[in-house]
Amino acid sequence: MLLTISTTHRPATDLGFLVHKNPARFQSFKLPFGRADVFYPEAESHRCTVALLLNIDPVGLVRLKPGAPKGGGWLEQYVNDRPYVASSHLSVAIAKVFGSALAGNSRDRPDLAEQAIPLEARIPVVPSREGADLIGNLFEPLGYAVGIEGRPLDERFPEWGPSPYFSVRLAATTRLRDLLVHLYVLLPVLDDHKHYWVGDDEVAKLLRFGEGWLDGHPLRDLISRRYLKHQRGLVDQALVQLLDAGPTDPGTAATRHEQAEKQLETPLRLSEQRIQAVLDALRSLGAVKVLDLGCGEGRLIHALLGESSVRSITGIDVSLRALATARRRLRLNDLPPRQQQRVNLLHGSLVYGDSRLSGHDAAIAMEVIEHIDAPRLDAFEEAVFGSAQPKAVLVTTPNAEHNAVFDRLPAGAFRHGDHRFEWTREQFRDWSGRVANRRRYDVRFQDIGPVHPDHGAPTQMGIFTQ
């Protein structure tokens, strides 16, 4: 991992006084995670460059992490980009090695430290999973001329596409401390993906370093959110290990998908309309005991708690993490006992029979079936219509025809990365009809969201009744 800072301010070698490092020497500093070398590839009076080279110990990174879970802290792989990319580690090194400069102090050139001078920073490997735009959007508002160069993942396999890394050049006439502060805060923000080390004091630190520029930054919210990102629980780790994909964190992927879907549908506030449609249907059915199948993080349950006619709500989900989030968001532990008793969260699966699901007035599968592999819908049908047999079942699912209306969605793509299928109105009606027939339910259909004359509504709902 490497950072160079150059200036053409004359005499350029005064850069040495600003960073308190002698241009004529190669110096090394010990860091908790390895070693930092500081040296000057050029030190002329017209141009001087200081290089900060981080030698991160790849084995120590994995092995010595305090509090790492038993089994070697496997989330951190030995095969890891950490030693090579600009990340939070670089911020720590800046603070440690260029501490005075970061604070705006210079023993020998105090005035220069306060002066805007032509500066150029180069970082050969900046990670940005969102692509090059975010780099520009972060630094350009701060007055930098930004040069960005992308790299393919592997020249031998062009079909694998571009890598998430960019060589970045930032140029501006500014104070050195400002440049360092911006790098200090924004490099970890770009690195979002693997930024683990957030502690309690980070909020104060962000406020201190962000003083004077963060408040007016157009991406202020994103910067704060990512800078303060938290770690995930141990359950996820067990999960990740099981997935064939290996180190990809399914939580992160799921969140990405969620966001993509939400962005797509946001202008419609479709999720609220869905909940409203479900509540209306439940009211007309007079449902008292309801079942939220695939309750996720509990948005529908939250709405159901506001329905006084619903006396018992059972939420079931296959993801323990989602249930934990639901518990937290619904503040279940803080609710008065009577409210608490209304809600019951269960860990379970919709492809196994489950006696805990019997005896309900209505079951809601809101945006759930499309997350089940089509061949396994039989098992879902058996579990819900065959075994649980609620008096009514509400099923909502995207109407694939309506996807044509979303300009940001490529043709043929699904709204959510985990969708296993998206059905047209005919396909949904066809499936629902067969289920209703087999299981002796009646079914009627309802559109949710604005109805397009050709493509129909964004969401379709089937209301099955016994």
Partner: protein, 857 residues
């Protein structure tokens, strides 16, 4: 006096304090069978006479008694129980657990009780207590039967108590000592001709004879001494009810048959006893036919029918026969509820469009260990479901009369000569299931219950005993199975993880064959097979000779002739057309290699490696391996150039430049290491499969064959289709011989060319050594390959020294447990055990995989 009680019942001792209940109990029952209110009082209050503790003490007494009865254990209640309101909950308790209740009353002279209490200083209550209790007892004596006690014994004097002895009688349903073999016969409904043919086909010899009072009867014998068991419904609807009764009565009298009651018998009995019943569903025919018989025969038949038992538990409890089936909790029990279940099944209380009761499908939820054979509801084809089978194939409706041979579990049937009766409801594929059109297979798919997989689980394996799955691991597996796995009917096997060898002490390497050989040697293995390790993805292939074979054996209807899944049960191919082509090639390869015929099978399960790695690991390669490579190259190239520039300025950069140059070189080697295992897949021609175990085929799990046999099969597949099947080079190594040296140089040669390494396996598929079960396989990976495991720079000495410290014991234990579970699942599948029993093994493997283990091992 002989006190004869059922072997399972609730005995309530009744008598005032001092009447000698505890003494009686200790003389005639095991101490653990007796639950005493005094003991319970002492347990909850440290004082056996503390009357204020009575409610708590009885709560405890109830709990203990209920727990024992649930487990099927005779229980004796030692409390005064002289008041009706004290006895009522006890009778209820027995009824709730479908047990009979027995009252044993110690009706002792009041004076005796008083005298006894005087001798006991802890009982300081006055004489009025005993007097009241005695009075209450007197009032109770005559009403005990009415209160629900099935048997009442009253002992009126110390002498009677002295002479009394308790005899435990087997339950009527208990035929555990009958070990068969049996031929269980479905609903006959007066179809005598078909029954006679069926019995003959089963090997019975039928002769007519006159019995001692001159009535014609039958003599039926079987040369092997087999016995018939009738599931009931001998009568009604059919043409020769009396003749059927005559035959079955003869057989049961001779001890060559058993018969349980059917609902038609029950109704006939009520009619014959003069009660008012609706003459329908073929009862009229029966009555008309019986009219023609002699009064003696009618009488005998009435007695026979009245004496029919609800169900039988046979063969040490392994076999249960009941007319309409029987859930596990009711087996071997006696109550009206149990009898109703046996006769009518479990009904939901609703009726269907034909006016017949809608049945709850008890068999779907059946998880008992006993095989349950039943009839009652005609089906087109008997199908096993969770160790239950309905063998009523509707003979009287023009179907067949079917018998199940036990323990062979073979079905034998005889077609009906004609339709004797039109069914009210069409005989569906399987009318038991509420979904009338599904085939038996589809129905089985839907019967997995969440209770079969969640929570802490203990799976009994024949190879390694009980294997525990922790609750949190089961929870993780539930998510993976539910979200990503294939239909569980495909997942008959999930492969175990493979442990690496001990870490080598040799310079520059972490793993070396020396350690592999040492491990097996130390475990008492003398010969191993070293196999080239292909770098791809582990793949399990299930393939059938055709789609019909898959439907027959796996219950999965459709076009698929098989599937291919990953080690976590995910479908390998997203492209279903490519998958179909792939499976077709495999099917053909197996045919060309002559394996279908040789193994006498129409399906096989293969354990294999599928290449290229990039086919399945695309995301991993892009997001991790290639990404790290490009980041490292870019970063180190820039660093090298800056350091060079600095040095050229005359600055001493120490070792930094040389070091960065070395690291850059390692980075390049790292990228070369993964690139070798990647190639683009545009068609089937780009895919290779290296099978290394032929795990199972019809009737067999091939674990009794050594690895040379398995390699031989792989070789034959390779010969049959070299384009698809990759050969696996292998060497047999006799430990402690020159073979070790030769195999080591082979490993060096393989790995220097970029090969992943080798996997060594004991010659026997399942090997027991000096320390028990031996690791079924051990991998030894090449130095270059390990760069993609331990990182580009792992070979730098300061890194390597630390990496040598790794703990492989957890991985080893995991490998053995998963191996045992994998084979257990296959064995259960081959033995046609219920789906949930097979699934629990695959599920457990997945759950174990979520245990935290160093993923680099």
């Amino acid at each position: 006096m002989k006190i004869a009680i059922p072997e399972l019942c609730l005995v309530v001792l009744i008598g005032p304090t001092g009447s000698g209940k505890s003494t009686f109990a200790s003389r005639h029952f095991k101490p653990t069978e007796v639950v005493s209110s005094d003991t319970c009082r002492a347990m909850v209050a440290d004082d056996a006479t503390d009357q204020s503790a009575t409610p708590d003490a009885f709560a405890l007494l109830n709990f203990i008694a209920a727990t024992r009865l649930r487990a099927g254990r005779l229980t004796v209640i030692d409390a005064t129980s002289v008041q009706p309101r004290a006895r009522k909950p006890l009778v209820g308790l027995a009824r709730e657990h479908d047990c009979l209740s027995v009252a044993i009353v110690l009706n002792m002279p009041e004076a005796l009780c008083l005298a006894r209490n005087k001798d006991r200083p802890e009982r300081s209550f006055g004489p009025h207590v005993v007097r009241n209790q005695a009075a209450q007892l007197k009032r109770s004596l005559r009403r005990l039967k009415r209160e629900g006690f099935r048997y009442v014994f009253v002992l009126n004097s110390p002498e009677e108590v002295e002479e009394a002895f308790v005899e435990r009688m087997p339950m009527w349903v208990n035929l555990r000592n009958e070990h068969g073999s049996f031929d269980i016969i479905g609903d006959v409904h007066g179809c005598f001709d078909e029954l006679a043919i069926l019995l003959k086909r089963l090997g019975y010899r039928l002769e007519t004879r006159a019995d001692d009072i001159g009535e014609p009867g039958f003599s039926v014998t079987h040369p092997q001494g087999r016995k018939a068991v009738f599931v009931g419904d001998l009568v009604d609807r059919g043409p020769a009810v009396a003749k059927v009764l005559n035959l079955v009565m003869s057989m049961t009298a001779d001890g060559t048959a058993f018969c349980v009651a059917g609902n038609h018998e029950a109704k006939l009995v009520r009619k014959l006893q003069g009660r008012k019943v609706q003459i329908s569903h073929g009862l009229a025919e029966t009555l008309a036919q019986l009219e023609m018989e002699s009064p003696e025969f009618q009488q005998r038949a009435a007695a026979f029918l009245d004496g029919l038992i609800s169900h039988y538990v046979l063969d040490d409890g392994n076999l249960v026969v009941a007319h309409a089936g029987l859930k596990a909790e009711y087996q071997g029990r006696a109550s009206a509820r149990v009898r109703d279940f046996c006769l009518y099944g479990e009904t939901t209380g609703e009726t269907d469009e034909f006016g017949l009761p809608v049945r709850a499908d008890w068999a779907v939820g059946y998880r008992g260990p006993a095989t349950v054979v039943y009839g009652h509801t005609p089906v087109v084809e008997p199908a096993w479901l969770n160790r239950t089978i309905n063998i009523d194939t509707g003979c009287v409706f023009g179907g067949r009369l079917t018998a199940l041979r036990y323990p062979e579990k073979e079905l034998v049937s005889v077609p009906a000569a004609q339709v004797y009766c039109e069914p009210v409801r069409p005989v569906a594929e399987d009318v038991q299931s509420e979904v009338s059109v599904v085939s038996a297979g589809t129905r089985a798919a839907n019967v997995l219950d969440i209770g079969d997989v969640i929570g802490k689980r203990i799976v009994a394996t024949r190879l390694r005993g009980n294997i525990t799955v922790r609750e949190e691991n089961a929870a993780a597996a539930l998510e993976v199975v539910s979200r990503f796995a294939l239909d569980p009917r495909w997942l008959v096997y999930l492969p175990p993880t493979i442990s690496p060898c001990e870490t080598s002490a040799l310079p520059g390497v972490l793993e070396h064959p020396t350690e592999v050989f040492a491990h097996f040697r130390n475990n008492g293995v003398s010969e191993v097979v070293c196999q080239e390790k292909h770098m791809g993805s582990r793949a399990v292939v299930v393939v059938g000779q055709d789609a019909a074979a898959i439907e027959r054996r796996f219950g999965i209807a459709g076009e698929d002739i098989g599937t291919c899944y990953t080690r976590t049960g995910r479908r390998f191919f997203e492209d279903r057309i490519l998958e179909a082509q792939f499976l077709e090639r495999i099917r053909k390869g197996i045919a060309d290699a002559g394996l279908w015929a040789e193994l006498e099978t129409d399906w096989v399960v293969l354990d294999s490696e599928l290449m290229p790695w990039s086919l399945k690991a695309q995301e991993l390669l892009r997001e991790q391996y290639a990404a790290v490579g490009v980041a490292a190259r870019t970063s180190l190239t820039a660093a090298e150039s800056l350091l060079r520039q600095t040095m050229e300025r005359g600055i001493d950069v120490g070792e930094a430049l040389a070091r960065v140059a070395e690291r850059l070189n390692l980075t390049q080697l790292y990228s070369d290491a993964y690139a070798r295992y990647c190639w683009p897949v545009t068609s089937l021609a780009d895919i290779q499969l290296a099978p290394f175990h032929l795990l199972a085929s019809e009737g067999q799990v091939h674990v009794g064959k050594d690895h040379l046999w398995h390699m031989g099969v792989a070789g034959r597949l390779h010969t049959a289709d070299p384009g698809l099947f990759r050969d696996t080079h292998h060497k047999v190594v006799r430990l402690n011989t020159e073979d070790e040296v030769e195999a080591t140089s082979w490993w060096e040669e393989l790995t220097s060319k970029g090969g992943e390494g080798i996997v060594a396996k004991p010659m026997d598929f399942v090997a027991h050594g000096t320390r028990g079960l031996v690791q079924p396989a051990m991998k030894c990976r090449g130095t270059e390959y390990l760069r993609i495991i331990y990182g580009p720079e792992y070979t730098l000495s300061e890194n390597m020294d630390r990496l040598r410290k790794r703990n492989i014991s957890t991985k080893r234990s995991l490998a053995l447990r998963e191996f045992a579970l994998g084979l257990e699942g296959l064995q259960r599948f081959v033995e046609r055990e219920p789906l949930h029993r097979v699934h629990e093994c695959a599920f457990a493997v997945l759950a174990l995989e979520s245990e935290p283990v160093d993923p680099r091992l």
